[in-house]
């Protein structure tokens, strides 16, 4: 048996959808843990720009649409030129849904699948091609959702994309052997722009059905993603669900 050498902690993390919500929290946390961070979204918010301004040598940000694979490739190239080899990826960018399947237009379904499933698959591919070509080792985390495990009305296409990403994650974990640790983190509902469509009554119902009695917060998720990016855990090909027990 070859001797086991752990995958090193992430040193340069790509975060998609880093402009706000969970993505911004994950980018900030990775930086605090000592990594360099390359973050993008379609719009660079003042918060993301402030992070970049405060850490000019360690943070690279740009306005990039995840659905524009040429722009994504350019972003990875620029980020690696500025920060050094990229060895971790957090697929966080996504769009939400709140419409019954029969009343969701085919175009909208296509957009959700494109942004939440096709784009992260292509970003992961581009990231892994760079990493593999230089014989690197690294880590990939997919931010999925409890919706991939349990049915929620109004989230049919969205749930399909999150389930698709969890399945892809497992297959990828096999393909990358032990060279790249690949896992998903599946949050329950948490307050963000994406979930702002939920009414107070719905949030109350979700909270009531959550055994811990409180909704998930970004602070519950950052340590879990941080563990997958930085620690030597031997966790590979798994979905770690962080939802206060709502899906049990």
């Amino acid at each position: 048996m070859p001797e086991y050498t752990p995958i090193p902690p992430a040193s340069c993390v790509v975060v998609s959808g880093a402009s706000r919500g969970l993505g911004l929290a994950l980018a900030t946390d990775a930086l605090k843990r000592g990594a360099r961070v390359a973050g993008f979204a379609r719009t660079v918010t003042p918060e993301l720009q402030a992070l970049a301004d405060a850490h000019p040598d360690d943070v690279h940000v740009a306005a990039v649409d995840a659905n524009d694979s040429g722009a994504v490739a350019g972003f990875l190239r620029d980020a690696a030129d500025r920060l050094g080899p990229l060895d971790a990826l957090v697929n966080n960018a996504a769009v939400g849904q709140d419409s019954l399947h029969v009343h969701t237009s085919p175009e909208r379904i296509g957009e959700i699948v494109q942004t939440n499933l096709t784009a992260p698959l292509l970003l992961t591919r581009a990231f892994l091609r760079r990493l593999t070509a230089r014989g690197g080792r690294g880590r990939v985390v997919m931010v999925t959702s409890v919706c991939a495990q349990r049915g929620y009305a109004g989230l049919v296409a969205y749930s399909a994309t999150k389930g698709g990403l969890d399945s892809a994650m497992r297959a990828l974990a096999r393909e990358m052997h032990g060279r790249v640790l690949v896992n998903s983190v599946a949050p329950g509902f948490f307050a963000s722009e994406m979930s702002s469509v939920l009414g107070g009554e719905q949030l109350e119902t979700i909270t009531r059905r959550t055994p811990t009695g409180r909704l998930v917060e970004a602070d519950d998720l950052t340590p879990i993603v941080g563990m997958l990016l930085f620690e030597d855990t031997n966790i590979h090909g798994q979905v770690l669900t962080v939802d206060g027990g709502s899906s049990i």
Binding site: D98, S99, L100, V102, H103, T104, S105, R108, A153, G154, V197, G199
Partner: protein
């Protein structure tokens, strides 16, 4: 686009309820919970309207969640057709 009048939508709503053995009350302020008209019933009605107009009426769930009375159903389908 063809449109279906408020009265015609009302009559279609009566058909959806009648198929479940329920009457459609005359009072437009009647809450939907009182007559057991649920979101899937609204979907059925919207799809029947689509059949008549030949156009899809796609919409998000928050609009649907605001519908509470018989009158709200008729108003919402009127708005969707004119959108």
């Amino acid at each position: 686009m063809n449109t279906v009048s408020r009265d015609e939508v009302r009559s279609m709503m009566g058909d959806v309820l009648a198929a479940q053995g329920k009457p459609l009350p005359a009072d437009e302020l009647t809450p939907l919970v009182d007559i057991g008209f649920r979101s899937l019933d609204f979907s059925e009605l919207a799809l029947r309207v689509e059949d008549e107009t030949g156009d899809e009426l796609n919409f998000d769930a928050p609009g649907l969640r605001r519908i509470e009375t018989v009158g709200d159903v008729l108003d919402f389908l009127e708005q969707l057709q004119s959108a």
